[in-house]
Amino acid sequence: MNRTGSLYEPGNSLFHRLDGAVKLCLFAIWTILTFLFLDLRVFGVMLALGVILLVTAGIPFKRIAFLFWIMIIFTVLNSVFIVLITPTFGTRLTGTNTPLIPLGYNTINAETLFYVLTLSAKYLTLLPITLLCIFTTQPSEFAASLNRIGIPYKIAYAVSIALRYIPELTAEFRSTLHSMQARGMGISKEDGKLMQRFRNLSAVVVPVLQSALHRIDSVTNAMELRGFGTQKRRTWYSGKDMKSLDWMMIGVSVLLFGLGLWLRLKGLGPYWFPF
């Protein structure tokens, strides 16, 4: 995240040109499809598609590396936890048991290993589409897009305000934290026992909250004076008009969604395993 709190990376790929609302639709469809399955083959196809789209978007890997590694670390840790806590969970899904690695209190079986592989793939499948949406959409377009897909404009604008003030509140919070630290009321190990550090943290929250409440008042005044919320609908400066490309993408994604649903109803199981 840069100073401005935006992750947007300028470019001219397919995703850059798409309307934000279309991207949100795609994102929703993709997420729902992922939720529906627990099938490595489906995730394989989706993951491949996602990676291709991500590569064509031309976002430098350097920019997404941080989020990518967080995700990898998460899935690895998550898998380790699952394997250690429920070494034979896979059996519940498949009914078979192929012991592999003895743990002492239990034995990890092949079914569980395959299960965590599937689960990890499921998490990873969600990553490319999210990255695509946040890296190719200007933050200012985000609220307009939410409004277009049917979210009331006031709620959509609340999202915009949150995006606007996250970096500022973060900076303010940090500087208050620093000034407290200098008075000996920081939250690091040096500053005393756990309880004390925790009390220090709660003390920092007070001025930050106070200033947030003050800001609520002044931003409200500013917006009232500029006529926010007086009309039934509002227009948006940011954003694009729907073009044929956008309608095409909506068509494609609806088709894919239909295909996914059909596969699911056809009994392409909630869980698939090769054993």
């Binding site: 989020l67 990518f68 967080i70 999202v159 305000i161 995006l163 943290l201 709660s202």
Partner: protein
């Protein structure tokens, strides 16, 4: 002065936005208590938002704040947990509906604290149960592992709520109580 609950006036919109931003801004900070776990003040913020502005603001700010933080810091949205935050915020806001409870004007009675604690704890547990159910149903996570995660999270969230959240709301009310009979003591 309390306004009608669902009336989205400009102030409510701004409150939701700023609270969500605050939730995001403080999301990165925590007092580490063990490997990969830290006590985060975020849950206390939900308590404060709920108590000061009611369940609608609590729910929406919790949800938006959680989703944005997820997007900016992990590149993915944990929908189950985001909805959990929203639910927690809503439960924290029930106390706002009580007549005579108004921390902005310094009005908090001791029975309110009791109710607030109960709603808060019930809210934390219910929303984590919700996250648990969500992850099992939609993500296909094994329930045994989640039981451990959820109970750990419940415990730490309840601890933060009791140690940080309730005192913060009380402290805030105390601050706003009209200072009367102030005399200068030379």
């Amino acid at each position: 002065m309390k306004k009608s609950l669902f009336q989205l006036n400009t102030k409510t919109v701004v409150t939701i936005g700023i609270c969500a931003a605050l939730y995001g801004a403080t999301g990165f900070i925590g007092v580490p208590i063990g490997p990969d776990t830290s006590l985060r003040p975020a849950i206390a913020l939900l308590a404060i938002f709920g108590a000061l502005f009611g369940p609608v603001v609590g729910f929406t700010a919790g949800f938006i704040g959680h989703v944005l933080t997820d997007l900016l810091t992990s590149g993915m949205v944990w929908w189950g947990w985001a909805l959990g935050s929203a639910l927690t915020g809503a439960f924290m806001g029930i106390i706002y509906l009580y007549k005579g409870f108004d921390p902005l004007a310094g009005l908090v009675k001791s029975k309110h604290i009791g109710f607030f604690a109960v709603y808060g704890i019930v809210g934390i547990i219910l929303s984590l149960l919700f996250s648990w159910w969500f992850d099992i149903t939609f993500m296909g996570e094994p329930s045994d592992k989640l039981v451990i995660q959820v109970s750990l999270a419940s415990l730490s969230n309840i601890a933060v709520f009791v140690v940080l959240g309730i005192p913060a709301v009380l402290g805030y009310a105390k601050r706003n109580r009209k200072a009367s009979n102030l005399s200068v003591n030379e």
